[in-house]
Amino acid sequence: MTDKTNTPKSFQDIILRLQNYWAEKGCAILQPYDMEVGAGTFHPATTLRSLGSNPWAAAYVQPSRRPTDGRYGENPNRLQHYYQYQVIIKPSPPDLQALYLGSLEAIGIDMELHDIRFVEDDWESPTLGAWGLGWEVWCDGMEVSQFTYFQQVGGHDCHPVSGELTYGLERLAMYVLGVDHVMDMPFNAPDALIPLSYGDVFKQTEEEYARYNFDAANTDILLKHFEEAEAECKALLSLEAGDPKTGKRIILAHPAYDQCIKASHIFNLLDARGVISVTERQAYIGRVRALAKQCADAFIQTRAGGYVEAAE
């Protein structure tokens, strides 16, 4: 699909190129968040850091889980666990589109030979109380990224506005590498000592998790966990800002947000287990959104969220 001399050889090659590219452009290369999330946006580096006035620039890979998308590793493009590459820059720089196109070149897409288009696609996350305007980016008719200018997160207007880029890594890599089934995609270099395909790494886990997500996960326990995460989130946020032990002002925005992430993932699992009716669905989404909003409220009361402590 691409110019031979510059073609990446493997899935990880594409990831490494993106890491290098965005590092060069000045982003902090963060690591994945150590919790189960549905998309890279859930990483606090995006959700929370897009709030408040402090500038921010980060890029990272985020393993993402969508329990309902599991197909036992058999579908050529659908996975319950996949990777997103996420770039978040605040304030959004004026040349963000050009920067983005540069990243496509970095992974071997020759702009002279391909048809790149920006097609309207507005982004909304009902669970995060967030929305933005932007596009899905098409390369030869295929959606390769989501490009969004955040307008609101956790119910707060974003000011300044963050620019967010999300690459669906498997799909993008399959395209660049010319692979038809995700499991056939080379994970490391095909000429490595021990060449591994995506299937070598993930076929078994796709099977295991598909069975777990659809049939085995104990819904009673999950329902209880959901309630607990919700309660814990609220409890953490209800604490006084002044820490009795250190006397410092410590608001528990991140620990509380962890509970919100947990509740969100548990909801996704319950959804995959088919125990949530259509009407209940809205109610659960509303409960997660309420947590996300309260976490956002708390975060903007912290230093990273732009809060300036009054001089003592």
Partner: protein, 683 residues
């Protein structure tokens, strides 16, 4: 005189917003300039995914001076009032004039505002336009506060006169107006400096930007048609998709692709929808009408003649169509083995609306309603019930889950596969019609019955739970359903009472309110056919038999366009006015039969005779719904009415004669109300 060029250069504007944006830019700038007294000769505008362009010719350097008169205090008013007035007007006392009016003499100031520079006015209008631009959705970016549809990058604002060209001084949110822009994002990204509109157009054309959206659409259509012709195919017209494509590219380049053999078993609608929906491909058909090819509209040419672009798009299409084949084959296998019953069972667990129950319950209601409506429209109740039962089964199919817009069409395929007759199967598609105002309505009796049942069920349902459309909010497209009812009734000349139908639908729907809602749609429909709105108003709420109403409206509309009609209207209105005035005065109604013995005047007798004659024809004609004849008969009384009003004084000194004459006028009233409420008519 100078020519103005404005370009607002931004990141990609959604295709669906471009046309309106151009109209809004043109309107807001013209208004802004006109309000400030700045004229222009011609104007033209263009829009691409990245730019909004406005050009105006012959703009003077200054606006016209504006003169206005301001009324001041009376000449005998206290000195203080005058001082205040002079201060406000910036004049001295000797510059004032005095004028008399019934209340006395007062001061008048004539104030002349000097002309203002065009640059200032344009800058002001542009600022207002940008800040108040009615984008359907707009956004902020970076750390700014300005809102635009996507980040705004640069603005050209140039006034040019021959070789002379200057930038209109203007700045908004840190963006300074300039005379520079960029060409095509990939083919000619360098900065371009422009002197005037002509130069701008020439340079952008060279920089791979086709400014005119119509030219882009034409280009796509022509290129696609020619390329398809060369391989024996023809383009399936899809104006909306064509325009959308024209809104996604600045430099359209057309590439053709062929649908692989393995996908050609898919129904044409599936191929077309999948390609249009996911990839914005136009479809190509062969001589047999089979879709065998497609058109990719790319935003560039490449040195490999689009080889990569074609290969990439073909790959995406293959994945999409593989999915579609999977759904299609699964669905077919299911209906061939088990019919549509398992789907109906599934639908009985799907919520339609939390206050209106499940899809299954809704289908059951439509079945019952179809059975009842069938005899009124000449359909067999059993056929209507059978068709209604399966009409929405495809909502549970995999294909419709994936492509909701294929509902109905898939139902017909599946119903046939399940062994239903073509006539019954077709109802799956046709009962949704009409979807748009120019769509065909169902004409086959079974389809009419199910279509009406469907629409009356949804309307009475939402009326019963009091969720009616408000303003622009109509999430369940109830207006469309109502218009559908109107059109099905009229275009099939059905004689049914709305109230009757509503009575058979959901309990608790306010019948008169819903009738009014449907009649409102009728009025919109008639207005679109250029029937005078007051003519429609004069018949309002008179009957809930739509076909009858429209017959009357059309006859009346035609009648009022004749000489007899306009004169008769004047005569009738005069009679109505006199009657209501005199009745109010006397506190009685003049409704007795006039007594011929009391008629002294020839004109009185002539009118009485003319009315006898008109009635003799008009009343039976009205009964047999021959409205043209009735109106022409009434029109023939016109000269008698005219003469009566010229020669006869209604308010005779003799109270008995006066009353008798008013009673003659009452005959006109009685006759006229059978036609319409003339007091509602204008003129």
């Amino acid at each position: 005189m100078a020519d103005l060029l404005i370009e607002l250069f931004s990141e990609e504007i959604p295709a669906r917003m471009q046309k309106n944006a151009l109209a809004d830019l043109t309107r807001m700038m013209s208004e802004g300039m006109a309000n400030a007294g700045l004229t222009y000769g011609d104007k033209s505008g263009f829009v691409t995914p990245r730019r909004l362009v406005l050009m105006m010719s012959d703009v003077p350097a200054m606006s016209m001076p504006k003169t206005e008169e301001r009324k001041g205090p009376r000449v005998d008013a206290p000195e203080k009032a005058l001082e205040g007035f002079l201060r406000g007007a910036g004049l001295t006392k000797d510059q004032l004039k005095t004028r008399d009016d019934p209340k006395g003499a007062f001061y008048v100031a004539t104030m002349t505002a000097p002309g203002r520079s065009a640059n200032d006015i344009i800058a002001e209008a542009l600022e207002k336009t940008i800040r108040n631009f009615p984008w359907p959705k707009s956004m902020r970016w970076g750390d700014g506060d300005l809102k635009w549809v996507r980040p705004l990058h640069s603005i050209i604002a140039v006034m040019s006169d021959g070789e002379e060209s200057e930038i209109v001084p203007f700045e908004i949110a840190g963006i300074k107006a300039s005379n520079t822009t960029h060409g095509h994002r990939f083919l000619a990204p360098d900065e371009i400096t422009v002197h005037n509109a002509e130069d701008y157009m020439a340079k952008l054309a060279k920089a791979n930007v086709i400014l005119d959206p119509i030219a882009r659409a034409d280009h796509i259509r022509n290129e696609a048609t020619n390329a398809a012709f060369a391989i024996g195919l023809s383009l399936i017209e899809d104006e909306k998709l064509l325009n959308e494509n024209a809104g996604l590219v600045e430099y359209p380049v057309v590439y053709l692709g062929e649908i692989e053999e393995q996908f050609r078993t898919l129904p044409a609608e599936v191929l077309q929808t999948s390609m249009a929906e996911h990839q914005k491909f136009l479809s190509l058909k062969n001589a047999d009408g089979q879709i065998t090819g497609y058109v990719i509209v790319a935003n560039r040419s490449t040195k490999d003649n689009g080889a990569m672009i074609k290969a990439g798009n073909a790959k995406v299409l293959r994945a999409r169509l593989s999915d579609a084949v999977f759904f299609w084959e699964n669905d077919l296998r299911n209906v061939e083995r088990h019919g549509v019953e398992p789907w109906l069972e599934k639908l009985s667990n799907v919520t339609f609306h939390n206050k209106l129950g499940t899809q299954g319950e809704r289908i059951d209601r439509i079945v019952e309603l179809s059975r009842e409506i069938a005899p009124m429209v000449g359909a067999s109740p059993d056929d209507a019930a059978t068709a209604a039962k399966i009409a929405k089964a495809d909502l549970a199919s995999e294909m419709v889950y994936e492509f909701p817009e294929l509902q109905g069409v898939m139902g017909t395929y599946y119903a046939k596969a399940a062994g239903h007759s073509n006539a019954i199967a077709n109802v799956c598609t046709t009962h949704y019609a009409p979807l748009g105002p120019s769509d065909d309505v169902p004409t086959e009796p079974t389809a009419i019955a199910v279509s009406l049942a469907d629409k009356f069920d949804i309307l009475t349902g939402f009326w019963a739970i009091d969720e009616k459309p408000t303003g622009s909010k109509d999430p369940f497209a109830l207006r469309r359903s109502a218009l559908g009812i109107v059109r099905i009734i009229l275009e099939n000349d059905l004689r049914i009472s709305l109230a009757d139908m509503i009575g058979k639908g959901h309990e608790g729907a306010n019948s008169s309110d819903l009738t009014r809602f449907i009649i409102d749609r009728l009025n919109v429909y008639l207005r679109d056919q250029n029937i005078r709105h007051d003519v429609i108003g004069a018949l309002k709420n008179d009957s809930d038999d739509l076909a009858l109403l429209v017959k009357r409206v059309k006859a009346l509309d035609a009648f009022l366009k004749t000489d007899d009609g306009t004169n008769m209207q004047a005569g009738i209105k005069r009679a109505l006015n006199i009657l209501s005035a005199e009745e109010k005065k006397d506190g009685v109604s003049f409704e007795l039969d006039p007594d011929p013995k009391l008629m002294k005047h020839d004109a009185e007798i002539a009118l009485q005779n003319a009315l006898d004659k008109a009635e003799a024809t008009a009343i039976p004609a009205l009964k047999s719904e021959n409205f043209e004849e009735a109106m022409s008969a009434i029109g023939q009384a016109r000269s008698a009415v005219d003469t009566f009003f010229t020669d006869v004084i209604v308010n005779d000194d003799n109270a008995i004669i006066r009353r008798n004459r008013l009673c003659i006028l009452n005959r006109i009233r009685v006759l006229s109300v059978q036609i319409c409420d003339f007091s509602e008519l204008e003129g």
